[in-house]
Symmetry: C2
DNA sequence: ACAATAAATGAACGTTGTTCAATATCGCCT
DNA sequence: AGGCGATATTGAACAACGTTCATTTATTGT
């Protein structure tokens, strides 16, 4: 038995999330199970339930970390750009590259089904919202005469679009091969959408 | 025991798919299980495995039927339109309405993860491809000076986009309420993309 | 040293997908 | 009509799953 107080609750939480991430990342969502995560950190199932409400909770917290990392990368990408148009394209590129580099971890965020009655908690929703807010902020200077709600809508339409391309491509439903093709699709979507949105 | 030859293999197949669809539709993907499907048609688990390779096979065939229905609706929608632009918008509307009317069944198509090593069979891929081909056909007359590969790419970018809006909205990740808002997003995407794609 | 306290366990339960020997029923032939 | 061979159907069995919680174990305070 792992010695008591070997690790604090917070440490166990961290270890479990780390192990879960590695498991999903390397062996796919199917390889993920409570016993495997527990085993990987030298504890048993029961311990996990002292730290997480249930497996859904663990997955949600794991996804939150992934989402944080994605958001960080997107923030970073934006800084390196001179103008808004370039920034938007780079955001798209970053999003797709992130998904491609670790498809399993990314799929976990958007593929995981929350149990029937349950709804995604507020704090998680906000992490997703934060991403749209970022897109919104970048789009703002591109269409100055548009109202705030209009821009909010445009950001959602466009980013929903980028997301769709990404998910269909990664699950081999688009009939395109290679990351570059996916990047091209996304750039095409962004460029053309922007063309229409900014012009009229 | 169900009397022998009560139903042909083909009949059992049909009954099982019907029952599975109803189960998923009414109680969500979580309620779906081999024993439940078998029970619903008055047989036992074993019988299902005489008709389907495994549960993934059953799900795949169920999804194929859903995809066929969706394709049918999209074909029908196109016919009722005068010009291509209107047709494309109607296609988007039809797609989203279909997903909204039976979200569980629709989610099953795109949310279902095929087991790690396995890849989606050719015949299924083609049913998805058929949908893109339809979009392509509708876009053709809208940009006559574009090459065929360009149009193929555009169709995938655009429809990937519509799909993304649809899936994010249905899983409550877009922060929009009501089907109409989703429809608006999709129309915005299509209109603006088309604006850019046809103009330059 | 010992009792009180709390961390960690792991057996237990119900469910899952999948398999396959056993069983029940049919159609056919004498 | 009766029985037999063929086969459609069963359901017990298996391993693995999420989840719970009485039991066990290590640590701490006195």
């Amino acid at each position: 038995m792992a010695r008591r107080n070997d690790h604090s609750r917070e440490e166990i939480r961290e270890m479990a999330l780390e192990a879960a991430e590695q498991l999903v990342s390397e062996q796919g969502p199917g390889a993920f199970s409570a016993r495997k995560v527990a085993g990987a950190i030298g504890y048993t199932v029961g311990t996990l339930y002292l730290v997480f409400d249930n497996l859904d909770d663990l997955i949600l917290q794991m996804n939150a970390r992934t989402l944080d990392r994605l958001h960080g990368r997107m923030l970073q990408a934006r800084i390196q750009c001179r103008n808004s148009r370039e920034a938007l394209l780079r955001l798209g590129e970053t999003y797709i590259r992130f998904a491609d580099e670790d498809p399993h971890r990314w799929e976990m965020i958007f593929g995981h089904r929350t149990a029937e009655g349950e709804k995604t908690p507020e704090w998680f929703q906000q992490k997703v919202a934060r991403m749209f807010a970022l897109v919104e902020a970048v789009m703002q200077p591109l269409a100055k005469r548009r109202s705030a709600p209009e821009i909010a809508q445009a950001a959602r339409a466009l980013w929903g679009g980028v997301h769709g391309i990404c998910i269909l491509a990664l699950t081999d439903k688009l009939g395109v091969a290679g990351v570059q093709s996916v990047q091209d699709l996304a750039q095409s979507l962004i460029n053309n959408y922007l063309e229409g949105f900014t012009r009229q």
